[in-house]
Symmetry: C2
Subunit: 356 residues, 2 copies
């Protein structure tokens, strides 16, 4: 219904013809790369306007130049779950800022894990980023390596060609546990994020040391090991998702028991899980931190939570920017190495000396 539907696409050739110059000259006008007389440039621009030319075709340009201006951002789960955690969102945001400044766009790619469909085979990208710690191996990596596309990751996938931003998950989580021990807590428990891509559905469940060691997700595994370093006899419960509802369920599982068996300190692997645990505690009539101490991980902003969590401070936006930086350097031909990303324990009001 538009007044004049263009019958065929306008190309640089058409513009050049109308301006009375060669295609190469017209190209120079748009790329601004070569010396072009002002008058000529103006004629070309006028012709482009007349013909409604929208600029050089990005595909053709990409083919010739060998770069597409897009970076694949790979997430494992459905977007809904991947970005429900404010921490993931912060990382994405930081990454977006950095890439934006480089004129790169993000191609959101879901890695379903079935080696079958390869969502990347059909797309031209200049680099790939795995911004969230996922499973240790991804079939996508082999493909990317074969295409000689640089890869940046946040702890996963584990592969020699992936440049990583590395967090000392184990030590950090041990710090949180040690903090509780220092406060006199003796019965500690731990709530993990999912240990594998498809955790057993249903309510949170207690997991064994062996299951920890075999966990497919490195971040969950390392944090659990850090907890065990400090509290070797502590109970460990796996949430099937790292969100408030699962955290609350895990909290109820741990806390809805006779007082003598009840842990007094709970180390959660994420702030959302910690918030859930706190909700569980309070709904059972237990006060935080008087009766129960709780720690989180990430230090995200939860305006609806009436506590300041004791947690591991991990600035997500900065992490995302760092990922972006590594991407830039790889694209510039540099050879950056894995980069540590420091995190620290932040004291809040959800931990206090053990009761009694």
């Amino acid at each position: 219904m538009t007044p004049s539907r263009q019958t065929s696409k306008v190309t640089l050739k058409d513009v050049a013809a109308r301006a009375g110059v060669s295609i190469s000259t017209a190209s120079l006008v748009f790329s601004g790369r070569g010396p072009v007389a002002d008058a000529t440039a103006e004629r070309v621009r006028q012709a482009a306007t007349d013909l409604d030319y929208a600029g050089p075709d990005p595909t053709a340009s990409a083919l010739r130049q060998g770069r597409s201006g897009a970076v694949a951002v790979v997430v494992e789960e459905r977007l809904l779950h991947a970005f429900r955690d404010p921490f993931a969102l912060a990382v994405l945001d930081g990454l977006a800022q950095e890439l934006d400044a480089l004129g790169l766009s993000m191609l959101l790619v879901a890695d379903h894990g079935d080696g079958e469909s390869n969502p990347l085979a059909a797309h031209a990208v200049d680099a790939a980023v795995f911004p969230l710690c996922g499973r240790a191996d991804s079939s996508l990596v082999d493909h990317l390596v074969a295409r000689t596309i640089p890869i940046v990751g946040a702890g996963a996938p584990a592969h020699g060609s992936v440049v990583h931003v590395m967090v000392e998950e184990r030590a950090a989580q041990a710090d949180a546990a040690q903090h509780l021990v220092d406060l006199g807590h003796e019965r500690l428990a731990h709530v993990t994020m999912p240990l594998a891509p498809t955790p057993p559905p249903g309510p949170p469940r207690t997991v064994s040391r062996g299951e920890i060691a075999d966990a497919a997700y490195a971040d969950a595994r390392e944090r659990a090991l850090g907890f065990l370093d400090v509290a070797p006899t502590g109970t460990i419960v796996e949430a099937s998702r790292a969100d408030v509802a699962e955290g609350e369920a895990a909290g109820r599982l741990l806390l809805d028991v006779p007082a003598a068996e009840r842990p007094t300190g709970i180390v959660a692997q994420s702030d959302l899980l910690a918030a859930g645990v706190i909700r569980a505690a309070e709904s059972l009539g237990l006060r935080v931190p008087d009766d129960i101490s709780v720690t989180g991980f990430d230090a995200v902003d939860l305006p609806w939570l009436d506590h300041t969590l004791t947690t591991i401070e991990q600035p997500g936006e900065a992490k995302g920017r760092l990922l972006g930086n590594l991407t830039r350097r790889l694209l510039a031909g540099e050879n950056p190495s894995d980069t540590p990303f420091p995190v620290t324990l932040r004291l809040g009001d959800t931990t206090a000396p053990a009761p009694h």
Copy 2:
């Protein structure tokens, strides 16, 4: 440091040469489009394996076929803010599901609004989606139209070439307000989302009828008009962001006044804002719904909220899928028209008869 860095990229030509067939035959093997003898196909595949060929170059393929397999998903703000609302995330997720099924990927594009840099000029996309209601006009639209790229939107941008999913914002919000009137409430107030891309920073503020009429964001404007249809004398407050913190600030502004002036019913334009208002009320010692009734919009899942909001039910995932469907039909050459998306009032426990 990889053992054998390929000196030059492997192309279809190399594979064809090694397999002893023509380029065209090799192409047929990968696209599976033409009749190829099993033995030949096998030889080609073997050659590809030998040479570490990662499949046809997506850029070249895109150029020849005229489609890139990517869809631009345009959001206005920084990603961090755009997807902080679970509703936005749900829409994105539904859209992702639908596009995934079509073999399309999402190119996340931030529309900064400055007509200067055009993030889309450099990228090949087959369609563009504006999944969240944003400002009425975007300079990107003209560019997309010139490139004859189909566009789908959720209420914005307003342009003849954009196919929309349409929500009766005004009527829906009026329903919520009417519900409060039916319960006997006489002093009503309204908390709006930002009315324009860059709302005055600082705390929420009361806005005039004129500012409503001039609002750049159609959804905020229409909802406010719906509120006014029912409560022409109600107070209206604009939040500078649609999140819990701003909702709480707006709530305090409205409720921290002498009881005689205090509204007994507050209609918020989003669930997050409503949750914030509830927090403000409770921190002032007011009970919801006994003292104050509050309504939201969207019916998102807020596991941390100890209420079931009375709200407008707007299934975000379904909305996203609908956007995906329209995209599919446009790409298939169909000519779909704007599609209504029904929303309904859902009663929860945050509204009750007016006190006294």
